[in-house]
Symmetry: C2
Subunit: 386 residues, 2 copies
């Protein structure tokens, strides 16, 4: 099991590094560049045009070389303009959605001073957003808004006060009698508990789905999932136990004690992206008395073998949701590879076996956050429906 | 009034640029450097020693020059070590507490990839912390923790959904019948609504004061105070009205509608640091029916003339609290300057006139966040005492 999941995650990390460039031939580049929506206040660069090209401008008059880690396997090298600033445009359009990036300036790794920062790859990286055709579902709109509550909970197993964020729906503080189901939602390798709110817009996705009456409102709990030796190294020695202890024995009781939750198994879900999907898979299958709904976003799948090897799964699990970005599946030649079988075939097999199983593919996205924003949107609509 | 406050703020900005170096003679530098507590996870640099010296290390092998904007008027120039990394130590110890800084690499402004980022000077800056002798009061301890809740509220006057953070005390969600007083707490110029939680540790200061039984628990509301033309330019055309409308007409009703507040004048306070103090002064004096407690942290004072020119002040205001960092007062030659008179003398005059007036000086700090963390600690203990 450990070797399997290690192979999976290493593959995901490699995939994620090179899949953000949609195409490399160069049509005419439209001159309608606008500042990225993720720029720091008042910053004109980086910019994005309507085709998805990104343009960068960095001021460092005496630099020898400035490169951006986006725009193909080798990134985008900037060149010095007449005003001595460094400017460059990606070789092709980028995929729609959110991309991490950084600068390499004279051999050092720095962030773009024009862009906001997002925690990924175990560092605060620059971020840029290519407007997606369906961006409305995670837009900030004039609808009732829930809250994102930062909590600090005591973890005896790690001897720390740990941080989590809890999304509460718009009416949570109005109807003091109502209790809510809970989704525990995990980030990927190198990210942290800020990812689903910052990069993922989980709160806005929820606000909009609730405003449209498309989901049963629930809480989302997001905490840090890298509790052991995987922290800054590889995943070779990955051990699920430290995080499982924090989540199951410490965080869940804290949440049920401090928020108005429905604390029984039918009303508790877990999902995660990439490494968080792997964590979700292992923790839920080992705790079927605690979780009824399972979401794996670009993070493996559950096969009929898993079902047969896990007593009680068929009876206790009310939903198995598996998703990928379309480019992840293309790259893998129809979905085979180190993922423990074709995830779509696995999903079909579960359905045939009478398990509520859903498979979703995010169009034209890779191992990146737009895949996971969409996955959350789809998953949320299937949760707590009975 | 406008000219007065403009002069004040410009002076504060100038002061804040050069006051973080405590002394410039060079005693023996102790070799007990440790990573700053504000470093990114796993990062060894920047480091701080027990005397308050800061040491920086930047990897940029082919750079021509690397400078850090801390450590005296001209900053600290790094030199290339045998391994080609750039290393340097400040010329003297820095003041205790939090300092913003950035790098200048080959003529460009970048952040230190080793440090966490904090919004100041209208950009996300690097931050470093020199451990203060009294750091215990803002430390993360094993005490009951309140929450920091991100809310989004509709502002018709600015046609935006605006963000605020609300600190709720540890027992807020336990005792559903209890209602709480509220402090509206503002950041300084170039900062935003994240400052008081991130740089200020306002939530931890409150948790600790509440655990020690030193204060009447209250909510703190923190929102963005730069709503008009002061946004990224100077303060010359500063107009209090846009922010006053957001705060008084939009945010306060939202908070009173969505949180369990005591919504009458005796239970509402406002305070702010630097520019936020100026905003506090103007908004409270113009809305004495809404605010009873006033806190100005390094942001002006209230004189007897103000009292005489403001009908009702003497009857309605239950506390005027004014504070400065000691180095601000030293620099100003005993407290005179563009601040509308000596703040300590003003505080004394108010006391003589029968107004509950307090004056606090933070030891050995300048126009920086340790002055304001301490100011909040002192102010909080005087609030809502009747």
């Amino acid at each position: 099991m450990i070797r399997y999941t290690t192979g999976l995650l290493v593959s995901l990390l490699i995939l994620s590094a090179s899949l953000c460039l949609a195409q490399s031939d160069r049509p005419e580049i439209k001159d309608d560049f606008m500042p990225s929506t993720l720029n720091q206040p008042g910053q004109e660069y980086p910019q994005v045009n309507s085709q998805g090209y990104a343009r960068f401008r960095i001021v460092a008059l005496e630099a020898q070389s400035v490169k951006v880690s986006l725009g193909g396997r080798d990134g985008t090298s900037l060149t010095q303009a007449p005003d001595s600033s460094w400017i460059g445009t990606t070789a092709g359009p980028l995929d729609e959605g959110f991309h991490y990036y950084h600068l390499t300036i004279d051999g050092g790794t720095f962030n773009d001073p024009g862009a906001l920062n997002f925690y990924g790859s175990t560092r605060w990286e620059s971020g840029i957003e290519i407007p997606a055709f369906d961006r409305d579902f995670y837009a900030l709109k004039d609808v009732p808004h829930g809250r994102v509550q930062q909590i600090l909970f005591l973890s005896k197993s790690t001897n720390t006060s740990r941080r989590a964020f809890v999304y509460t729906p718009p009416d949570y503080d109005r109807d003091q009698a109502r209790r809510y189901p809970v989704l525990y939602l995990q980030h990927g390798w190198g990210e942290d508990e800020t990812a689903w709110s910052n990069q993922g817009h989980a709160n806005l996705i929820m606000d909009n789905l609730i405003a449209e009456g498309k989901i049963t409102p629930f809480l989302i709990v997001m905490t840090y999932g890298m509790t052991n030796e995987i922290k800054f190294g590889g995943l070779r020695n990955f051990d699920i136990k430290p995080f499982q202890t924090v989540l199951v024995d410490e965080l869940i009781p804290y949440i049920d004690d401090n928020f108005r939750t429905l604390s029984d198994q039918p009303h508790r879900a877990m999902a995660g992206l990439s490494m968080g999907g792997m964590e979700t898979r292992r923790i839920t299958l080992a705790n079927l008395d605690k979780f009824s709904h399972i979401g794996l976003f670009s993070g493996g799948s559950i096969s009929l073998d898993d079902v047969n090897n896990t007593p009680g799964l068929k009876e206790k699990v009310k939903l198995v949701f598996v998703s990928y970005g379309s480019r992840e599946l293309e790259r893998r030649g129809g979905g085979r590879g180190p993922f423990g079988g074709d995830p779509k075939e696995n999903a079909e097999a579960l359905k045939q076996a009478g398990i509520n199983s859903a498979f979703y593919v995010s169009p034209n996205t890779a191992h990146e956050f737009l895949s996971w924003r969409r996955s959350l949107r789809e998953f949320a609509q299937l949760l707590f429906r009975e």
